[in-house]
């Protein structure tokens, strides 16, 4: 990124540059996820702010309300959080153990950013659920979730598949498929109280 006059040692400039720079970096990575191309930006300048924002948003929207006291409801905030982060760490360890040459945090970064389509799906589903429930409502939600699930898989595979030896690509991609499938299932079965 061509930033003008980057001088961290200059005490005179009191502008909030680091925050804007980080926000711009996060936004740029969001764009890379939404329009996946073969570029190295996600891998080279990894950060975990984007995944954190996405995970918190998703968990806030998915958690069951406080008035719901039945024990077999949807996931709690902490459960969603644990599934996302524990799942991402497990997939990263798996791809490293299979011999991939991607670093631990780069992989976490990619997996976290590629939750963006599913977060958009969650927003759309919550809006659609404001209308009356019925089979059409369900069909619309199903269609949206399937499209976003496919988008997440394509986006993350575009970044992760190249780091594996060619005879093990399927072994590394399958856990990613399972991870986004479980998140999609949680989004699809969300019922408002």
């Amino acid at each position: 990124m061509a930033e003008a006059a980057e001088s961290p040692g200059d005490p005179g400039t009191a502008t909030p540059r680091p925050l804007m720079r980080d926000l711009k970096a996060v936004g740029k990575k969001f764009m890379h996820v939404l329009y996946p191309r073969k570029s190295n930006t996600l891998l080279r300048d990894w950060d975990l702010w984007g995944p954190l924002i996405l995970c918190v948003t998703l968990a806030l929207m998915l958690q069951r309300g406080s008035v719901d006291s039945e024990k077999d409801g949807g996931p709690q905030f902490a459960e969603v959080f644990v599934i996302v982060w524990f799942g991402a760490v497990t997939i990263t360890l798996n791809s490293k153990l299979l011999g991939g040459n991607i670093s631990f945090f780069q992989s976490l970064c990619v997996l976290g950013y590629c939750i963006l389509p599913l977060t958009v799906a969650m927003l759309v589903c919550r809006l659609v659920l404001l209308a009356e429930l019925g089979p059409i409502n369900f069909m619309v939600r199903l269609f949206v979730v399937i499209v976003m699930f496919a988008w997440s898989i394509v986006a993350s595979t575009a970044f992760l598949a190249d780091s594996q030896p060619p005879n093990r690509k399927a072994l590394a991609v399958y856990p990613v498929f399972l991870f986004y499938f479980v998140i999609s299932w949680m989004i699809l079965t969300f019922t408002p109280q």
Binding site: D72, G99, N167, A170
Partner: protein
């Protein structure tokens, strides 16, 4: 056992066992010079064993034991358990789906290179598939009978995960410990390592994944049929793998071991069926339906007076 019996066929069995373990090892004739550092099986009778494998003699896989194993605190140690290709994993899954009486899963498919990828991800898939299809049966039942209350039942994911992983790790641990304890009775064929046992159990659980998906079909006798079929395939794979190891043991120990293995497997299958696909309670009738169904002319006579004022 008489010592003469031991010596008569000892070499032949040892050679075939070693050949099954190490498929690209060579047996050399006793008049050939063994290269330094190589261990080879020496056969006194017949030169046909060494004839076509002279090129392979430099790559005797018995060398594997001489390779340095990295310590368990290094990453490379665990990487050695994930040293499999896609085609190998698919081949092992196929081998677990179609067990054959003569073919030992460990010797023919694992070939002394057990992996942890298969058991781990098969267990993860099975746990999620169990929870998801159990939830789906609730959805389908609600479509048929709208009085049933649907809920995502997320806690079942946790239960499924813990059950499957405990089964896939603790039962092989117990089995491995038992086999090592009985090792003194059987001198010739060594028991399997812990990882090989975990591998066998992990891959044998694969057949339950399509079975659980097929349990969505709400026909009870069909569900029991699929369950019995899956259990038969899975347990047969386990029994055929364990049979060469326990056959030298006493009949009582062998029978007890094999029947315990099959029984535990059956308990897992039935437990999963009953917990995740339980018949639904039908007493969830929503209260508002009862209140609105009351006809207006049965209202108590005091009401019109109160409404008039």
């Amino acid at each position: 056992m008489a010592a003469a019996d031991e010596l008569a066929f000892h070499e032949f069995e040892e050679a075939t066992n070693l050949l099954a373990q190490t498929p690209d090892a060579a047996t050399t004739r006793s008049d050939q010079l063994t290269p330094q550092g190589h261990v080879a099986v020496v056969m006194d009778s017949g030169g046909s064993y060494g004839a076509e494998d002279e090129v392979e003699s430099d790559k005797a896989a018995l060398l594997q034991e001489e390779k340095q194993q990295p310590g368990f605190w290094t990453f490379g140690y665990y990487q050695s358990f994930f040293d499999v290709d896609t085609s190998q994993v698919l081949d092992r899954i196929k081998g677990s789906l179609l067990p054959r009486p003569g073919h030992n899963f460990v010797r023919h498919h694992l070939r002394n290179r057990p992996d942890l990828y298969g058991p781990f991800w098969i267990c993860a898939t099975l746990a999620f598939v169990l929870a998801i299809t159990g939830n789906l049966t609730l959805v389908l039942a609600q479509r048929r009978d709208p009085s049933i209350h649907y809920s995502p039942q997320f806690h079942k994911v946790t239960v499924a995960g813990i059950t499957i992983y405990c089964y896939a790790w603790l039962v092989p641990l117990a089995l491995w410990g038992f086999l090592r304890w009985r090792r003194g009775v059987r001198e010739r064929v060594g028991p399997y390592t812990f990882l090989e046992t975990v591998c066998v159990y992990g891959y044998s659980l694969f057949v339950f994944i399509p079975t659980v998906v097929l349990w969505l079909i709400p026909v009870p006798w069909l569900q029991w049929l699929f369950g019995a079929l899956a259990l038969a395939l899975s347990a047969a794979g386990l029994v055929f793998t364990l049979w060469p190891v326990v056959r030298e043991d006493t009949r009582l120990a062998a029978t007890v071991l094999l029947s315990t293995v099959v029984l535990l497997h059956a308990l897992l299958a039935m437990g999963c069926k009953f917990y995740f696909f339980q018949p639904l309670p039908l007493e969830h009738v929503a209260p508002p339906h009862q209140a609105t169904s009351q006809p207006p002319n049965t209202l108590p006579p005091t009401l019109p007076r109160s409404m008039a004022t």
